[in-house]
Amino acid sequence: MDLLLDVLDQQLIDKHGRKAGKIDGIALELREGKPPRVAYLEMGTDVLARRISPRLERWLQALRARMGREVAPFHVPWSKVKKVHLTVDADIDASKEPSYHVERWLAQHVIGPIPGSEIDHQRGKR
C-alpha cells in the first residue's frame, strides 16, 4: 500500500458512516535502526496551510491566536484505522472530534436559528 496514493488526501469515514474530512497529513515516527511507522493521521486547516507554505501556516496560527481561538489538531492514531480502500474507514466518531466544532458552532449560531433549518427531505435512508 502506498501512503501517498492510498491514504493521503483520501476521504475519512467514521464508525457511523459519516464523512469526517479528507486526510490532510500523515505523521511518521522515525525510529533508530527500525523502519518508520505511521503514528497518526492528521486533519485540519493548519496542516493544509503548511502544505502550501510554512509561512502561511504561521500566519494562520497568529491570526487564530489574535482571535483567541485555539483549535486542537485532529489526530487519528493508526490503531483506529479499520480499512483502507476507496476511503479510509476509522473507528472514531466524527462529531466528537475538536475540528467538528466549526460545524457545531455554525449549526448552533448561524444556520440553526434561521427558520426552516430542520426541514429534511431524505427518503428515509442514511
Binding site: 501517498l4 493521503l8 488526501d9 483520501q10 476521504q11 475519512l12 459519516r18 464523512k19 469526517a20 474530512g21 479528507k22 490532510d24 486533519m43 493544509l48 502544505r51 502550501i52 476507496l86 466549526v102 460545524e103 457545531r104 455554525l106 449549526a107 448561524v110 444556520i111 440553526g112 434561521i114 426552516g116 433549518s117 430542520e118 426541514i119 429534511d120 427531505h121 431524505q122
Partner: protein, 404 residues
C-alpha cells in the same frame, strides 16, 4: 419512472449550466453581428460539453465519487487548491452575473432598474435551496425551463433562410471584423463549457445515487440534456440573426435584447423573452451556488447534500448562503450585468485547462473507473477538448483586448 428523474437532471443542468445569461448573451450577439455564421462554434462546444458531462456522470456512477472528490484524492491538495480557488472566484462572479440576468428580466417587465431586484432575487434563490430538496430543485427548474422553447418557436416563425442556417454549421472564417468574430467565438465556448456545470452534474449524480446500471441512461441524459440547451441556444442565434441583423441592431445595449422575440411573436414574445431569460438565469443561480457549496464540501471532505436538513450540514449550507449573499453584493455594485457576464466567461476560459487536463487523465484511472475507463472515442475528444482549452486560455486575454 426513475429514468424520467434522470432526464430531469439532464435538462436542469442544461437550463442552468448550458443555457444561462452568458450563453444567451453571446449567441444573441453572434446572431446580431454575424448572422448564423457561428453556429459551428456552438455545435462544437455542445459536443465537448456532452462528452465532459458524460464523463463526470460516469465517474460518479462507477466510483460514487464526485469530480471534486476524485480530483483531490487522485492529485493531492497542493495541486487541487489551484483549480479549487480559481473556480470559487469565477463561480462567485458567474453567480453575480446570473442574479443580474434575473434582475434584467424583471427590469424588462417592470421598468424598475435591475439593481433593486438583486437582494429579492438572491433571497428567492436561497429559499429554493434552503427549503427544497434536490429532486424538487431539479424538477421545478426543468419544467419551468421548458419556456425557453420560445426561442426555437420564434426562430421558426421568422422563416430563416435554411441555406444560411445550414451553412452556419460549417466552420468559416469571418467575413468582417476578424477580432470580434473570434472574440465572440471564444465567449460562446467559455459560456457553454462551464466548470460549475460539470461539478454540479457529477454531484447531482451522487445525490441521486446513480450506479453502474445507470451508465447508458447517463449517456442518454448527457446528450438529450445538453442537446436541449444547445437547440435553444441555436434558436437564440437564429432568431437574433433574423430579427436584429437585418435591422442593424448590434446588441451593444442590453435593452435591445427583447426585440428578438417581440418582432417574431409580438407582445407575447416580449414577455416570453423575459420569462426565458429569468428562468434560465434562475436555474444558473441555483446551479452555480450549489456548485460552490459542493466543491468546497467535497474538497475538504465534509458531509454534504441538498436534501439533508441545513442544520445537519451546517458548513455546506453556510457556503451557499454566504456565496449567494456575496454574489448579490457583486450584482449591486456592477454598472452593467452583461459586462460582468462577459468578464466571468473570459476568466472561465483562462482557468479551464486546470480542470480539464487532470479530469481527462482521471477518466483513464482504473482505481476509480474500473473497467469503465475512457474508450478511444472519449479520449480522442478529451485530447481535442484539452488542446482547445489550452489554446483558448492563451488567447483569451489578447482577444478580449482586441475584439471585446
Amino acid at each position: 419512472m426513475k429514468n424520467i428523474l434522470k432526464v430531469a437532471l439532464g435538462i436542469l443542468t442544461s437550463i442552468g449550466g448550458f443555457l444561462d445569461v452568458g450563453a444567451i448573451a453571446t449567441t444573441a450577439q453572434a446572431g446580431a453581428v454575424f448572422g448564423p455564421r457561428l453556429l459551428w462554434v456552438l455545435a462544437f462546444s455542445t459536443l465537448c460539453v456532452i462528452f465532459l458531462v458524460e464523463m463526470s456522470g460516469r465517474l460518479a456512477a462507477v466510483s460514487k465519487h464526485t469530480l471534486a472528490d476524485a480530483l483531490r484524492e487522485r492529485f493531492g491538495f497542493r495541486f487541487f487548491i489551484l483549480p479549487y480557488a480559481s473556480e470559487m472566484i469565477v463561480d462567485l462572479l458567474v453567480l453575480g452575473a446570473e442574479i443580474g440576468g434575473v434582475c434584467l428580466a424583471l427590469q424588462f417587465v417592470t421598468g424598475i432598474a435591475f439593481r433593486w431586484f438583486a437582494l429579492p432575487v438572491a433571497l428567492l434563490v436561497w429559499l429554493f435551496l434552503w427549503l427544497g430538496s434536490f429532486s424538487f430543485v431539479e424538477d421545478a427548474t426543468a419544467i419551468l425551463g421548458l419556456v425557453t422553447i420560445a426561442f426555437v418557436i420564434g426562430a421558426i416563425r421568422m422563416k430563416p433562410g435554411l441555406h444560411a442556417v445550414a451553412a452556419g454549421f460549417v466552420p468559416s472564417l469571418p467575413p468582417h471584423d476578424r477580432p470580434q468574430y473570434w472574440y465572440i467565438a471564444l465567449s460562446i465556448i467559455g459560456a457553454v463549457i462551464s466548470p460549475y456545470l460539470i461539478y454540479f452534474y457529477s454531484s447531482g449524480a451522487v445525490e441521486d445515487e446513480w450506479t453502474v446500471k445507470d451508465l447508458r441512461v447517463n449517456r442518454f441524459v448527457a446528450t438529450i440534456g445538453m442537446g436541449f440547451g444547445s437547440v435553444v441556444a441555436m434558436g437564440v442565434m437564429v432568431v437574433a440573426a433574423a430579427t436584429l441583423l437585418p435591422a442593424g441592431i448590434a446588441l451593444d445595449r442590453y435593452e435591445q435584447a427583447p426585440l428578438m422575440l417581440s418582432r417574431s411573436l409580438g407582445l407575447a414574445g416580449f414577455y416570453l423573452f423575459a420569462a426565458s431569460l429569468g428562468i434560465a438565469c434562475f436555474g444558473a443561480c441555483v446551479e452555480s451556488a450549489l456548485a460552490m457549496a459542493y466543491l468546497t464540501a467535497q474538497t475538504f471532505g465534509w458531509n454534504w447534500g441538498e436534501s439533508v436538513a441545513p442544520k445537519h450540514n451546517a458548513r455546506f449550507a453556510s457556503v451557499y448562503t454566504g456565496a449567494i449573499l456575496l454574489a448579490a453584493c457583486v450584482t449591486l455594485v456592477v454598472s452593467d450585468p452583461l459586462k460582468l457576464t462577459l468578464f466571468s466567461m473570459a476568466l472561465t476560459v483562462v482557468i479551464l485547462p486546470l480542470l480539464l487536463v487532470p479530469m481527462i487523465m482521471l477518466m483513464n484511472d482504473g482505481n476509480f473507473l474500473k473497467q469503465h475507463r475512457n474508450g478511444p472515442l472519449s479520449n480522442f475528444m478529451g485530447i481535442v477538448i484539452v488542446v482547445t482549452a489550452i489554446l483558448l486560455s492563451i488567447l483569451a486575454i489578447p482577444l478580449q483586448i482586441l475584439g471585446g
